[in-house]
Each structure stands twice: as C-alpha cells, then as structure tokens.
C-alpha cells in the first residue's frame, strides 16, 4: 500500500511519486526495510546472543546479589538455605524413615547433602525458567535483546549459586571422611553437562511459562515428584531390591539421578562405581546435548511472540 491511500480525510502527498502503486512489501523491499521484530535465523540469533554475553553474565550476577538483599543476613543465606534443606531431609529420611539403608552412615550424609544440592540446581533452574519471560515482561517490552538471554541468564545464576553451595559440600564431605583426590576433578565436566541440561530445561520452561503462567503454580509439584523419584535421599538400587529391574534402570537413567550420581561418585570415597548405571557419562552427555539443542530451538521458534500480554 502506498502512502497516498491512508484512512481518513487527508492524504499526505498528492504529488505523484515513482513509488505510487507499490504494495507495502514491495516498497519495503525496494528500500531494504526489514520486518520489525521478526525472528532471525538460528545462526544470526546465536550471534546476537553472543553479542549480549556481557548482559547475560551481568544480569545473572546482579540477580544473585539482589536475591537476599532484603534479608538481614544477606548473602549468608546462599549457604544457609541449602544446608537447612539438607538438615530437614536428614531428620525425616535419615533418622525417622531410615531411608539410608544399603549405605553406611558416613556415606549416607554426604550422599544426601550432595543429592539435595545437585537436585536443587536443576529444580531452581526449572522454576526460574518458568518465570524468566513471564516475570520480566516489563524488560521484554521495553528493550531489545534476544529473549533467550533471560532463561540462560537465570540458569547461569543458579550455577553461581551452586558453586557457593559446593564449598559447603566440600566441607561436609571431608568431615565424613572423604579426602580431596584427582577424582574430584570429575565434578567439572559433570557440572558443565548438568548446566547445559538445565539451560535447555530453562529455555523450554521459559517458553511454556510465557504462554501459560499457571505453570509457576504447577511446577513445584512436578519437581518434587521428580525429586522423590530420583533417589535424592535413598539409593535407588538398594531401595528397589526385589522389584522388576527395569524400574530401577528407568529411575537411574533419568537426568537428575545421573548428574547426582556422577557428583557423588566424584566426591565420596565410599561411593564407588558399582552404584552407577552402565554408560553413565554417555547418558549424561546425551541428556545435555538433546535437551539444550531441543530447548534452544523450541524457545527460538516463538522468539517474535514473547511480550504479548
């Protein structure tokens, strides 16, 4: 449509121009205009994200710093919250329900604490992913940036939170008799794979949560069910003895259990490879690659639609 066919009584330019009679799309093409807010192709999108890497990092740090800014103890809560969590689970599952059978006591406590910390990493990534877009609509509607920056940034924030918890974890593990060794280095690849997996999950949840904010209410139940099924506070093979073998296999191959077991194996001296399912590293890598790539594409497909109310 040319500019001389406006609605309303006044047309702006009665003078004929060579552009008269062109449709809007033709006019746009002629002068090299592009559709505003259109979704870029994946390579261009990745490049845009890379250009925003400083924003992603700065945003995650700022969120982390602001998290407990209203609490009197401030950043101390970063350490205290996961510790209290582990303590509660120890009271109920370790002492009252005796869920630690099949594991010696000096293995069970670090086993439980590792499980809680590592699972919390995935759980909080999911939860902050759900709100990544829907909780930051103001930012999305005000400024231009590739929207995937937000869920990625939130996953990164959880990684930083976990690194703080890891220091506590090292202390707990050493108190119960494990000593630093070369196998501790395995937590680096294990955490990187889990971070990739969590980022993919956060991207998926961000798109789902942007469309259906109700997920923020539902997801705590899903993640809690997932936690109980993943052997955070009990050893899956020991607990399922006598049941059909495939149940234990399915539970052990679920990503949360895989990443927990890898970290436990790396840190706890009394937790040997006999507790790990076969091909565990391949499974860990597979989950990370599939979920990250799938989540990224899934999120990108709705890129131009985030921000609608």
């Amino acid at each position: 449509m040319s500019e001389s066919t406006h609605d309303g009584p006044v047309a702006v330019s009665p003078r004929p121009s060579p552009d008269d009679g062109l449709t809007a799309a033709e006019l746009a093409a002629k002068y090299g205009l592009s559709v505003s807010g259109a979704r870029p192709a994946i390579p261009a999108y990745v490049r845009q994200l890379w250009n925003r890497r400083h924003f992603i990092v700065a945003f995650s740090r700022a969120k982390l710093a602001a998290q407990y800014s209203q609490a009197k103890l401030g950043q101390l809560w970063q350490v205290v919250t996961p510790l209290l969590n582990a303590l509660v689970y120890y009271l109920i599952f370790g002492l009252i329900l005796n869920a630690g059978r099949g594991l010696p006591k000096d293995v069970y406590i670090p086993f439980l604490v590792t499980g809680v910390f590592v699972f919390t990493f995935t759980q909080t990534s999911v939860m902050s992913g759900v709100r990544a877009i829907s909780g930051n609509l103001g930012l999305v509607r005000a400024l231009h940036f590739p929207r995937a920056s937000l869920p990625i940034s939130f996953a990164l924030q959880q990684l930083q939170q976990l690194l703080v918890s890891m220091v506590v974890l090292f202390v707990v593990v050493m108190v119960f008799g494990s000593r630093p060794s070369l196998s501790w280095l395995l937590i680096v690849p294990a955490l990187l794979l889990q971070f990739a997996f969590n980022t993919g999950l956060a991207l998926i949840m961000a798109r789902a949560g942007a469309h259906t904010p109700d997920l923020a209410q539902l997801m705590p139940f899903v993640t809690r069910t997932w936690m109980y099924a993943s052997g955070v506070m009990f050893s899956i093979p020991a607990m399922l003895e006598g049941r059909p073998g495939w149940i234990a296999d399915v539970l052990q191959w679920n990503p949360a259990a895989v990443y927990m077991d890898l970290i436990r194996f790396a840190l706890i001296d009394g937790y040997g490879s006999e507790n790990l399912p076969p091909h565990v590293w391949a499974v860990a890598l597979g989950w990370a690659v599939v979920i990250l790539a799938g989540g990224f594409v899934y999120f990108w497909k709705a890129e131009e639609r985030y921000g609608r109310g």
Binding site: M1, S2, E3, T5, H6, D7, G8, P9, V10, A11, V12, S13, R15, S17, D19, T23, A24, A25, L27, A28, Y31, G32, L33, S34, V35, S36, G37, A38, N51, R52, H54, F55, A58, F59, A62, K63, A65, A66, S69, Q70, N136, L137, G138, L139, V140, R141, A142, L143, H144, F145, S149, P213, E304, R305, Y306, G307, R308, G309
Partner: protein, 259 residues
C-alpha cells in the same frame, strides 16, 4: 514542510494494515471464584479466562527519512501500543511493520530492576541495549549527571525501590537516551520530572533528532507537537483517524476534544 524531503523520500517505517491484540489473563467478566473459573474452563475450552483487547486496528502509514511525526489521540487510543509494535517489542496479530534498522523506543516506563541499585541498572540497561562495557564506562557519569539522581546525595548506590517515582522515571529516561538511534520514538518523555529535568531532556531529544532519521513523538501537549513535528497521526480507538500536516490535524483534533 513535507515538501522539503520530496527529492529524497526514503521510507524508514512502513506500517501495513497493522493489528495488535493484547491477551489478558484473568480479566474476563464475572465472578472470580474458583467454581466460576472451573465452569469457564469446562464451557469454553480454548478461551478460558482470557480476554482480548484489540488495541490497534488496521493502521497503515509510511514514514520518511527526516520526518518528525507526532502521535495524538485520547488516553487509551493505542498510541503507545503502536510505538511498541513499530519497535518490534509487541508482536503483531495481523499485518506487518517494516523498518529501517532497529527503531528505539524512548519511554518513561521502560522497566528496570527495582531490587538493584541505580548503578547496576545503568550498566544492565546499557548492556541490554547492546552497548559495550567500554561505551557504558565512558557514558556512565554522563548518564548519572543527566538524570540528576545524585543532586541530593549519593542515591545512585541505593536500590531503585527506594527512589521516588520521579527519580526512577528520570533515571530510566537517562539510560534510554544514552544511546544514539536510527529511528527514534519518544513516548511522553517530555512530561517527566521537574522543570529543570524537562529542559535537559528537551535539549537531548533535539540532539537525538538531528542524528536520527525519523522521530515519532507521543504527547498530550499540543504545543510540543506543534513545536517539533511537521506531520501528525491521530489515533482514536486504535484506528488511524487522520494523517496529515500538523496544523490541519491539530485543528480537527482540537475541535474533536472540545466537544
């Protein structure tokens, strides 16, 4: 005035039958009780609890390089929504907006993070707009001085939730105005802050206009529209009611509002 640009009429923004629809959850009429919500889900399936607001209805226009275009209309007529759509921040329901480069929206309600300090907001806002760390470092003092936040003490190191609404609006505008823009849209920014800040921001807008190809200005102040714009779009209920030279449109608009 439009004739000046007759020689090189290069379009910078083309809106083609643009429709914008907001979907609002939980705004459907009727009781908000749980049973009412449940029966809605059962009855309506797809449309449960969602109300649609058709904010812009089939707007078409072409803006050219060097033009300053005013947007007028009563409250809720879809002016800000249209600007957001041009900026690519709100997805179109139907129709398309074509733009030259990346249009920037300078608004007073650009959301920032209230639990973070003003300083962090300056840095994050700049990074999100695509500025580099060096550019932000260079401009940082300029932004803070421009906002006037620190005139009454060291407020920039306090969380934004402690700011008065005027202070927060000033800081937001200062951050957004720190970058140079191709197509620039200004949403009632002139109304922000005290008299001193208004003068500063008017001067900054004039500066930005000289660098920008096309400027859109939303304002309820007919005088500032007359001072800055040679062409005016008049929106009413999401429809383009009139599009033409400032004087003609404003005359009709004043007749309309006087009723």
């Amino acid at each position: 005035m439009a004739e000046q640009h007759q020689e090189a009429r290069v379009p910078t923004v083309i809106a083609d039958e643009l429709h914008i629809v907001y979907k609002v959850n939980g705004a459907r009429k009727g009781k908000g009780s749980a049973t009412a919500a449940l029966s809605r889900i059962m009855r309506r399936g797809e449309e449960r609890g969602v109300r649609e607001v058709h904010a812009v209805r089939g707007v078409s226009f072409v803006a050219y390089k060097g033009e300053a275009i005013g947007l007028i209309g009563s409250n809720g007529s879809g002016k800000s929504t249209l600007l957001r759509a041009i900026a690519g921040l709100l997805p179109a329901e139907r129709g398309k907006v074509y733009t030259n480069g990346q249009p920037s929206l300078l608004g007073v309600n650009a959301a920032l993070m209230n639990d973070l300090t003003g300083e962090r907001n300056v840095i994050l806002g700049g990074l999100a707009m695509g500025m580099s760390r060096e550019q932000i470092r260079e401009r940082y003092q300029e932004i803070v001085d421009f906002s006037g936040i620190n005139e009454k003490g060291d407020f920039i190191s306090l969380p934004m939730r402690t700011y008065s609404s005027g202070m927060a609006a000033r800081l937001r505008f200062s951050i957004a105005a720190a970058k140079d823009h191709d197509v620039l849209m200004i949403d009632e920014a002139l109304a922000t802050g005290d008299r001193k800040f208004q003068k500063r921001s008017e001067a900054r807008i004039r500066e930005l206009r000289q660098q920008a190809g096309t400027v859109f200005l939303v304002s309820h102040n007919n005088k500032s529209i007359r001072d800055t714009c040679e062409r005016v779009l008049w929106l009413e209920r999401g429809e383009l009611r009139m599009d033409g030279p400032t004087d003609e449109v404003l005359k009709e608009y004043e007749k309309f509002t006087a009723k």
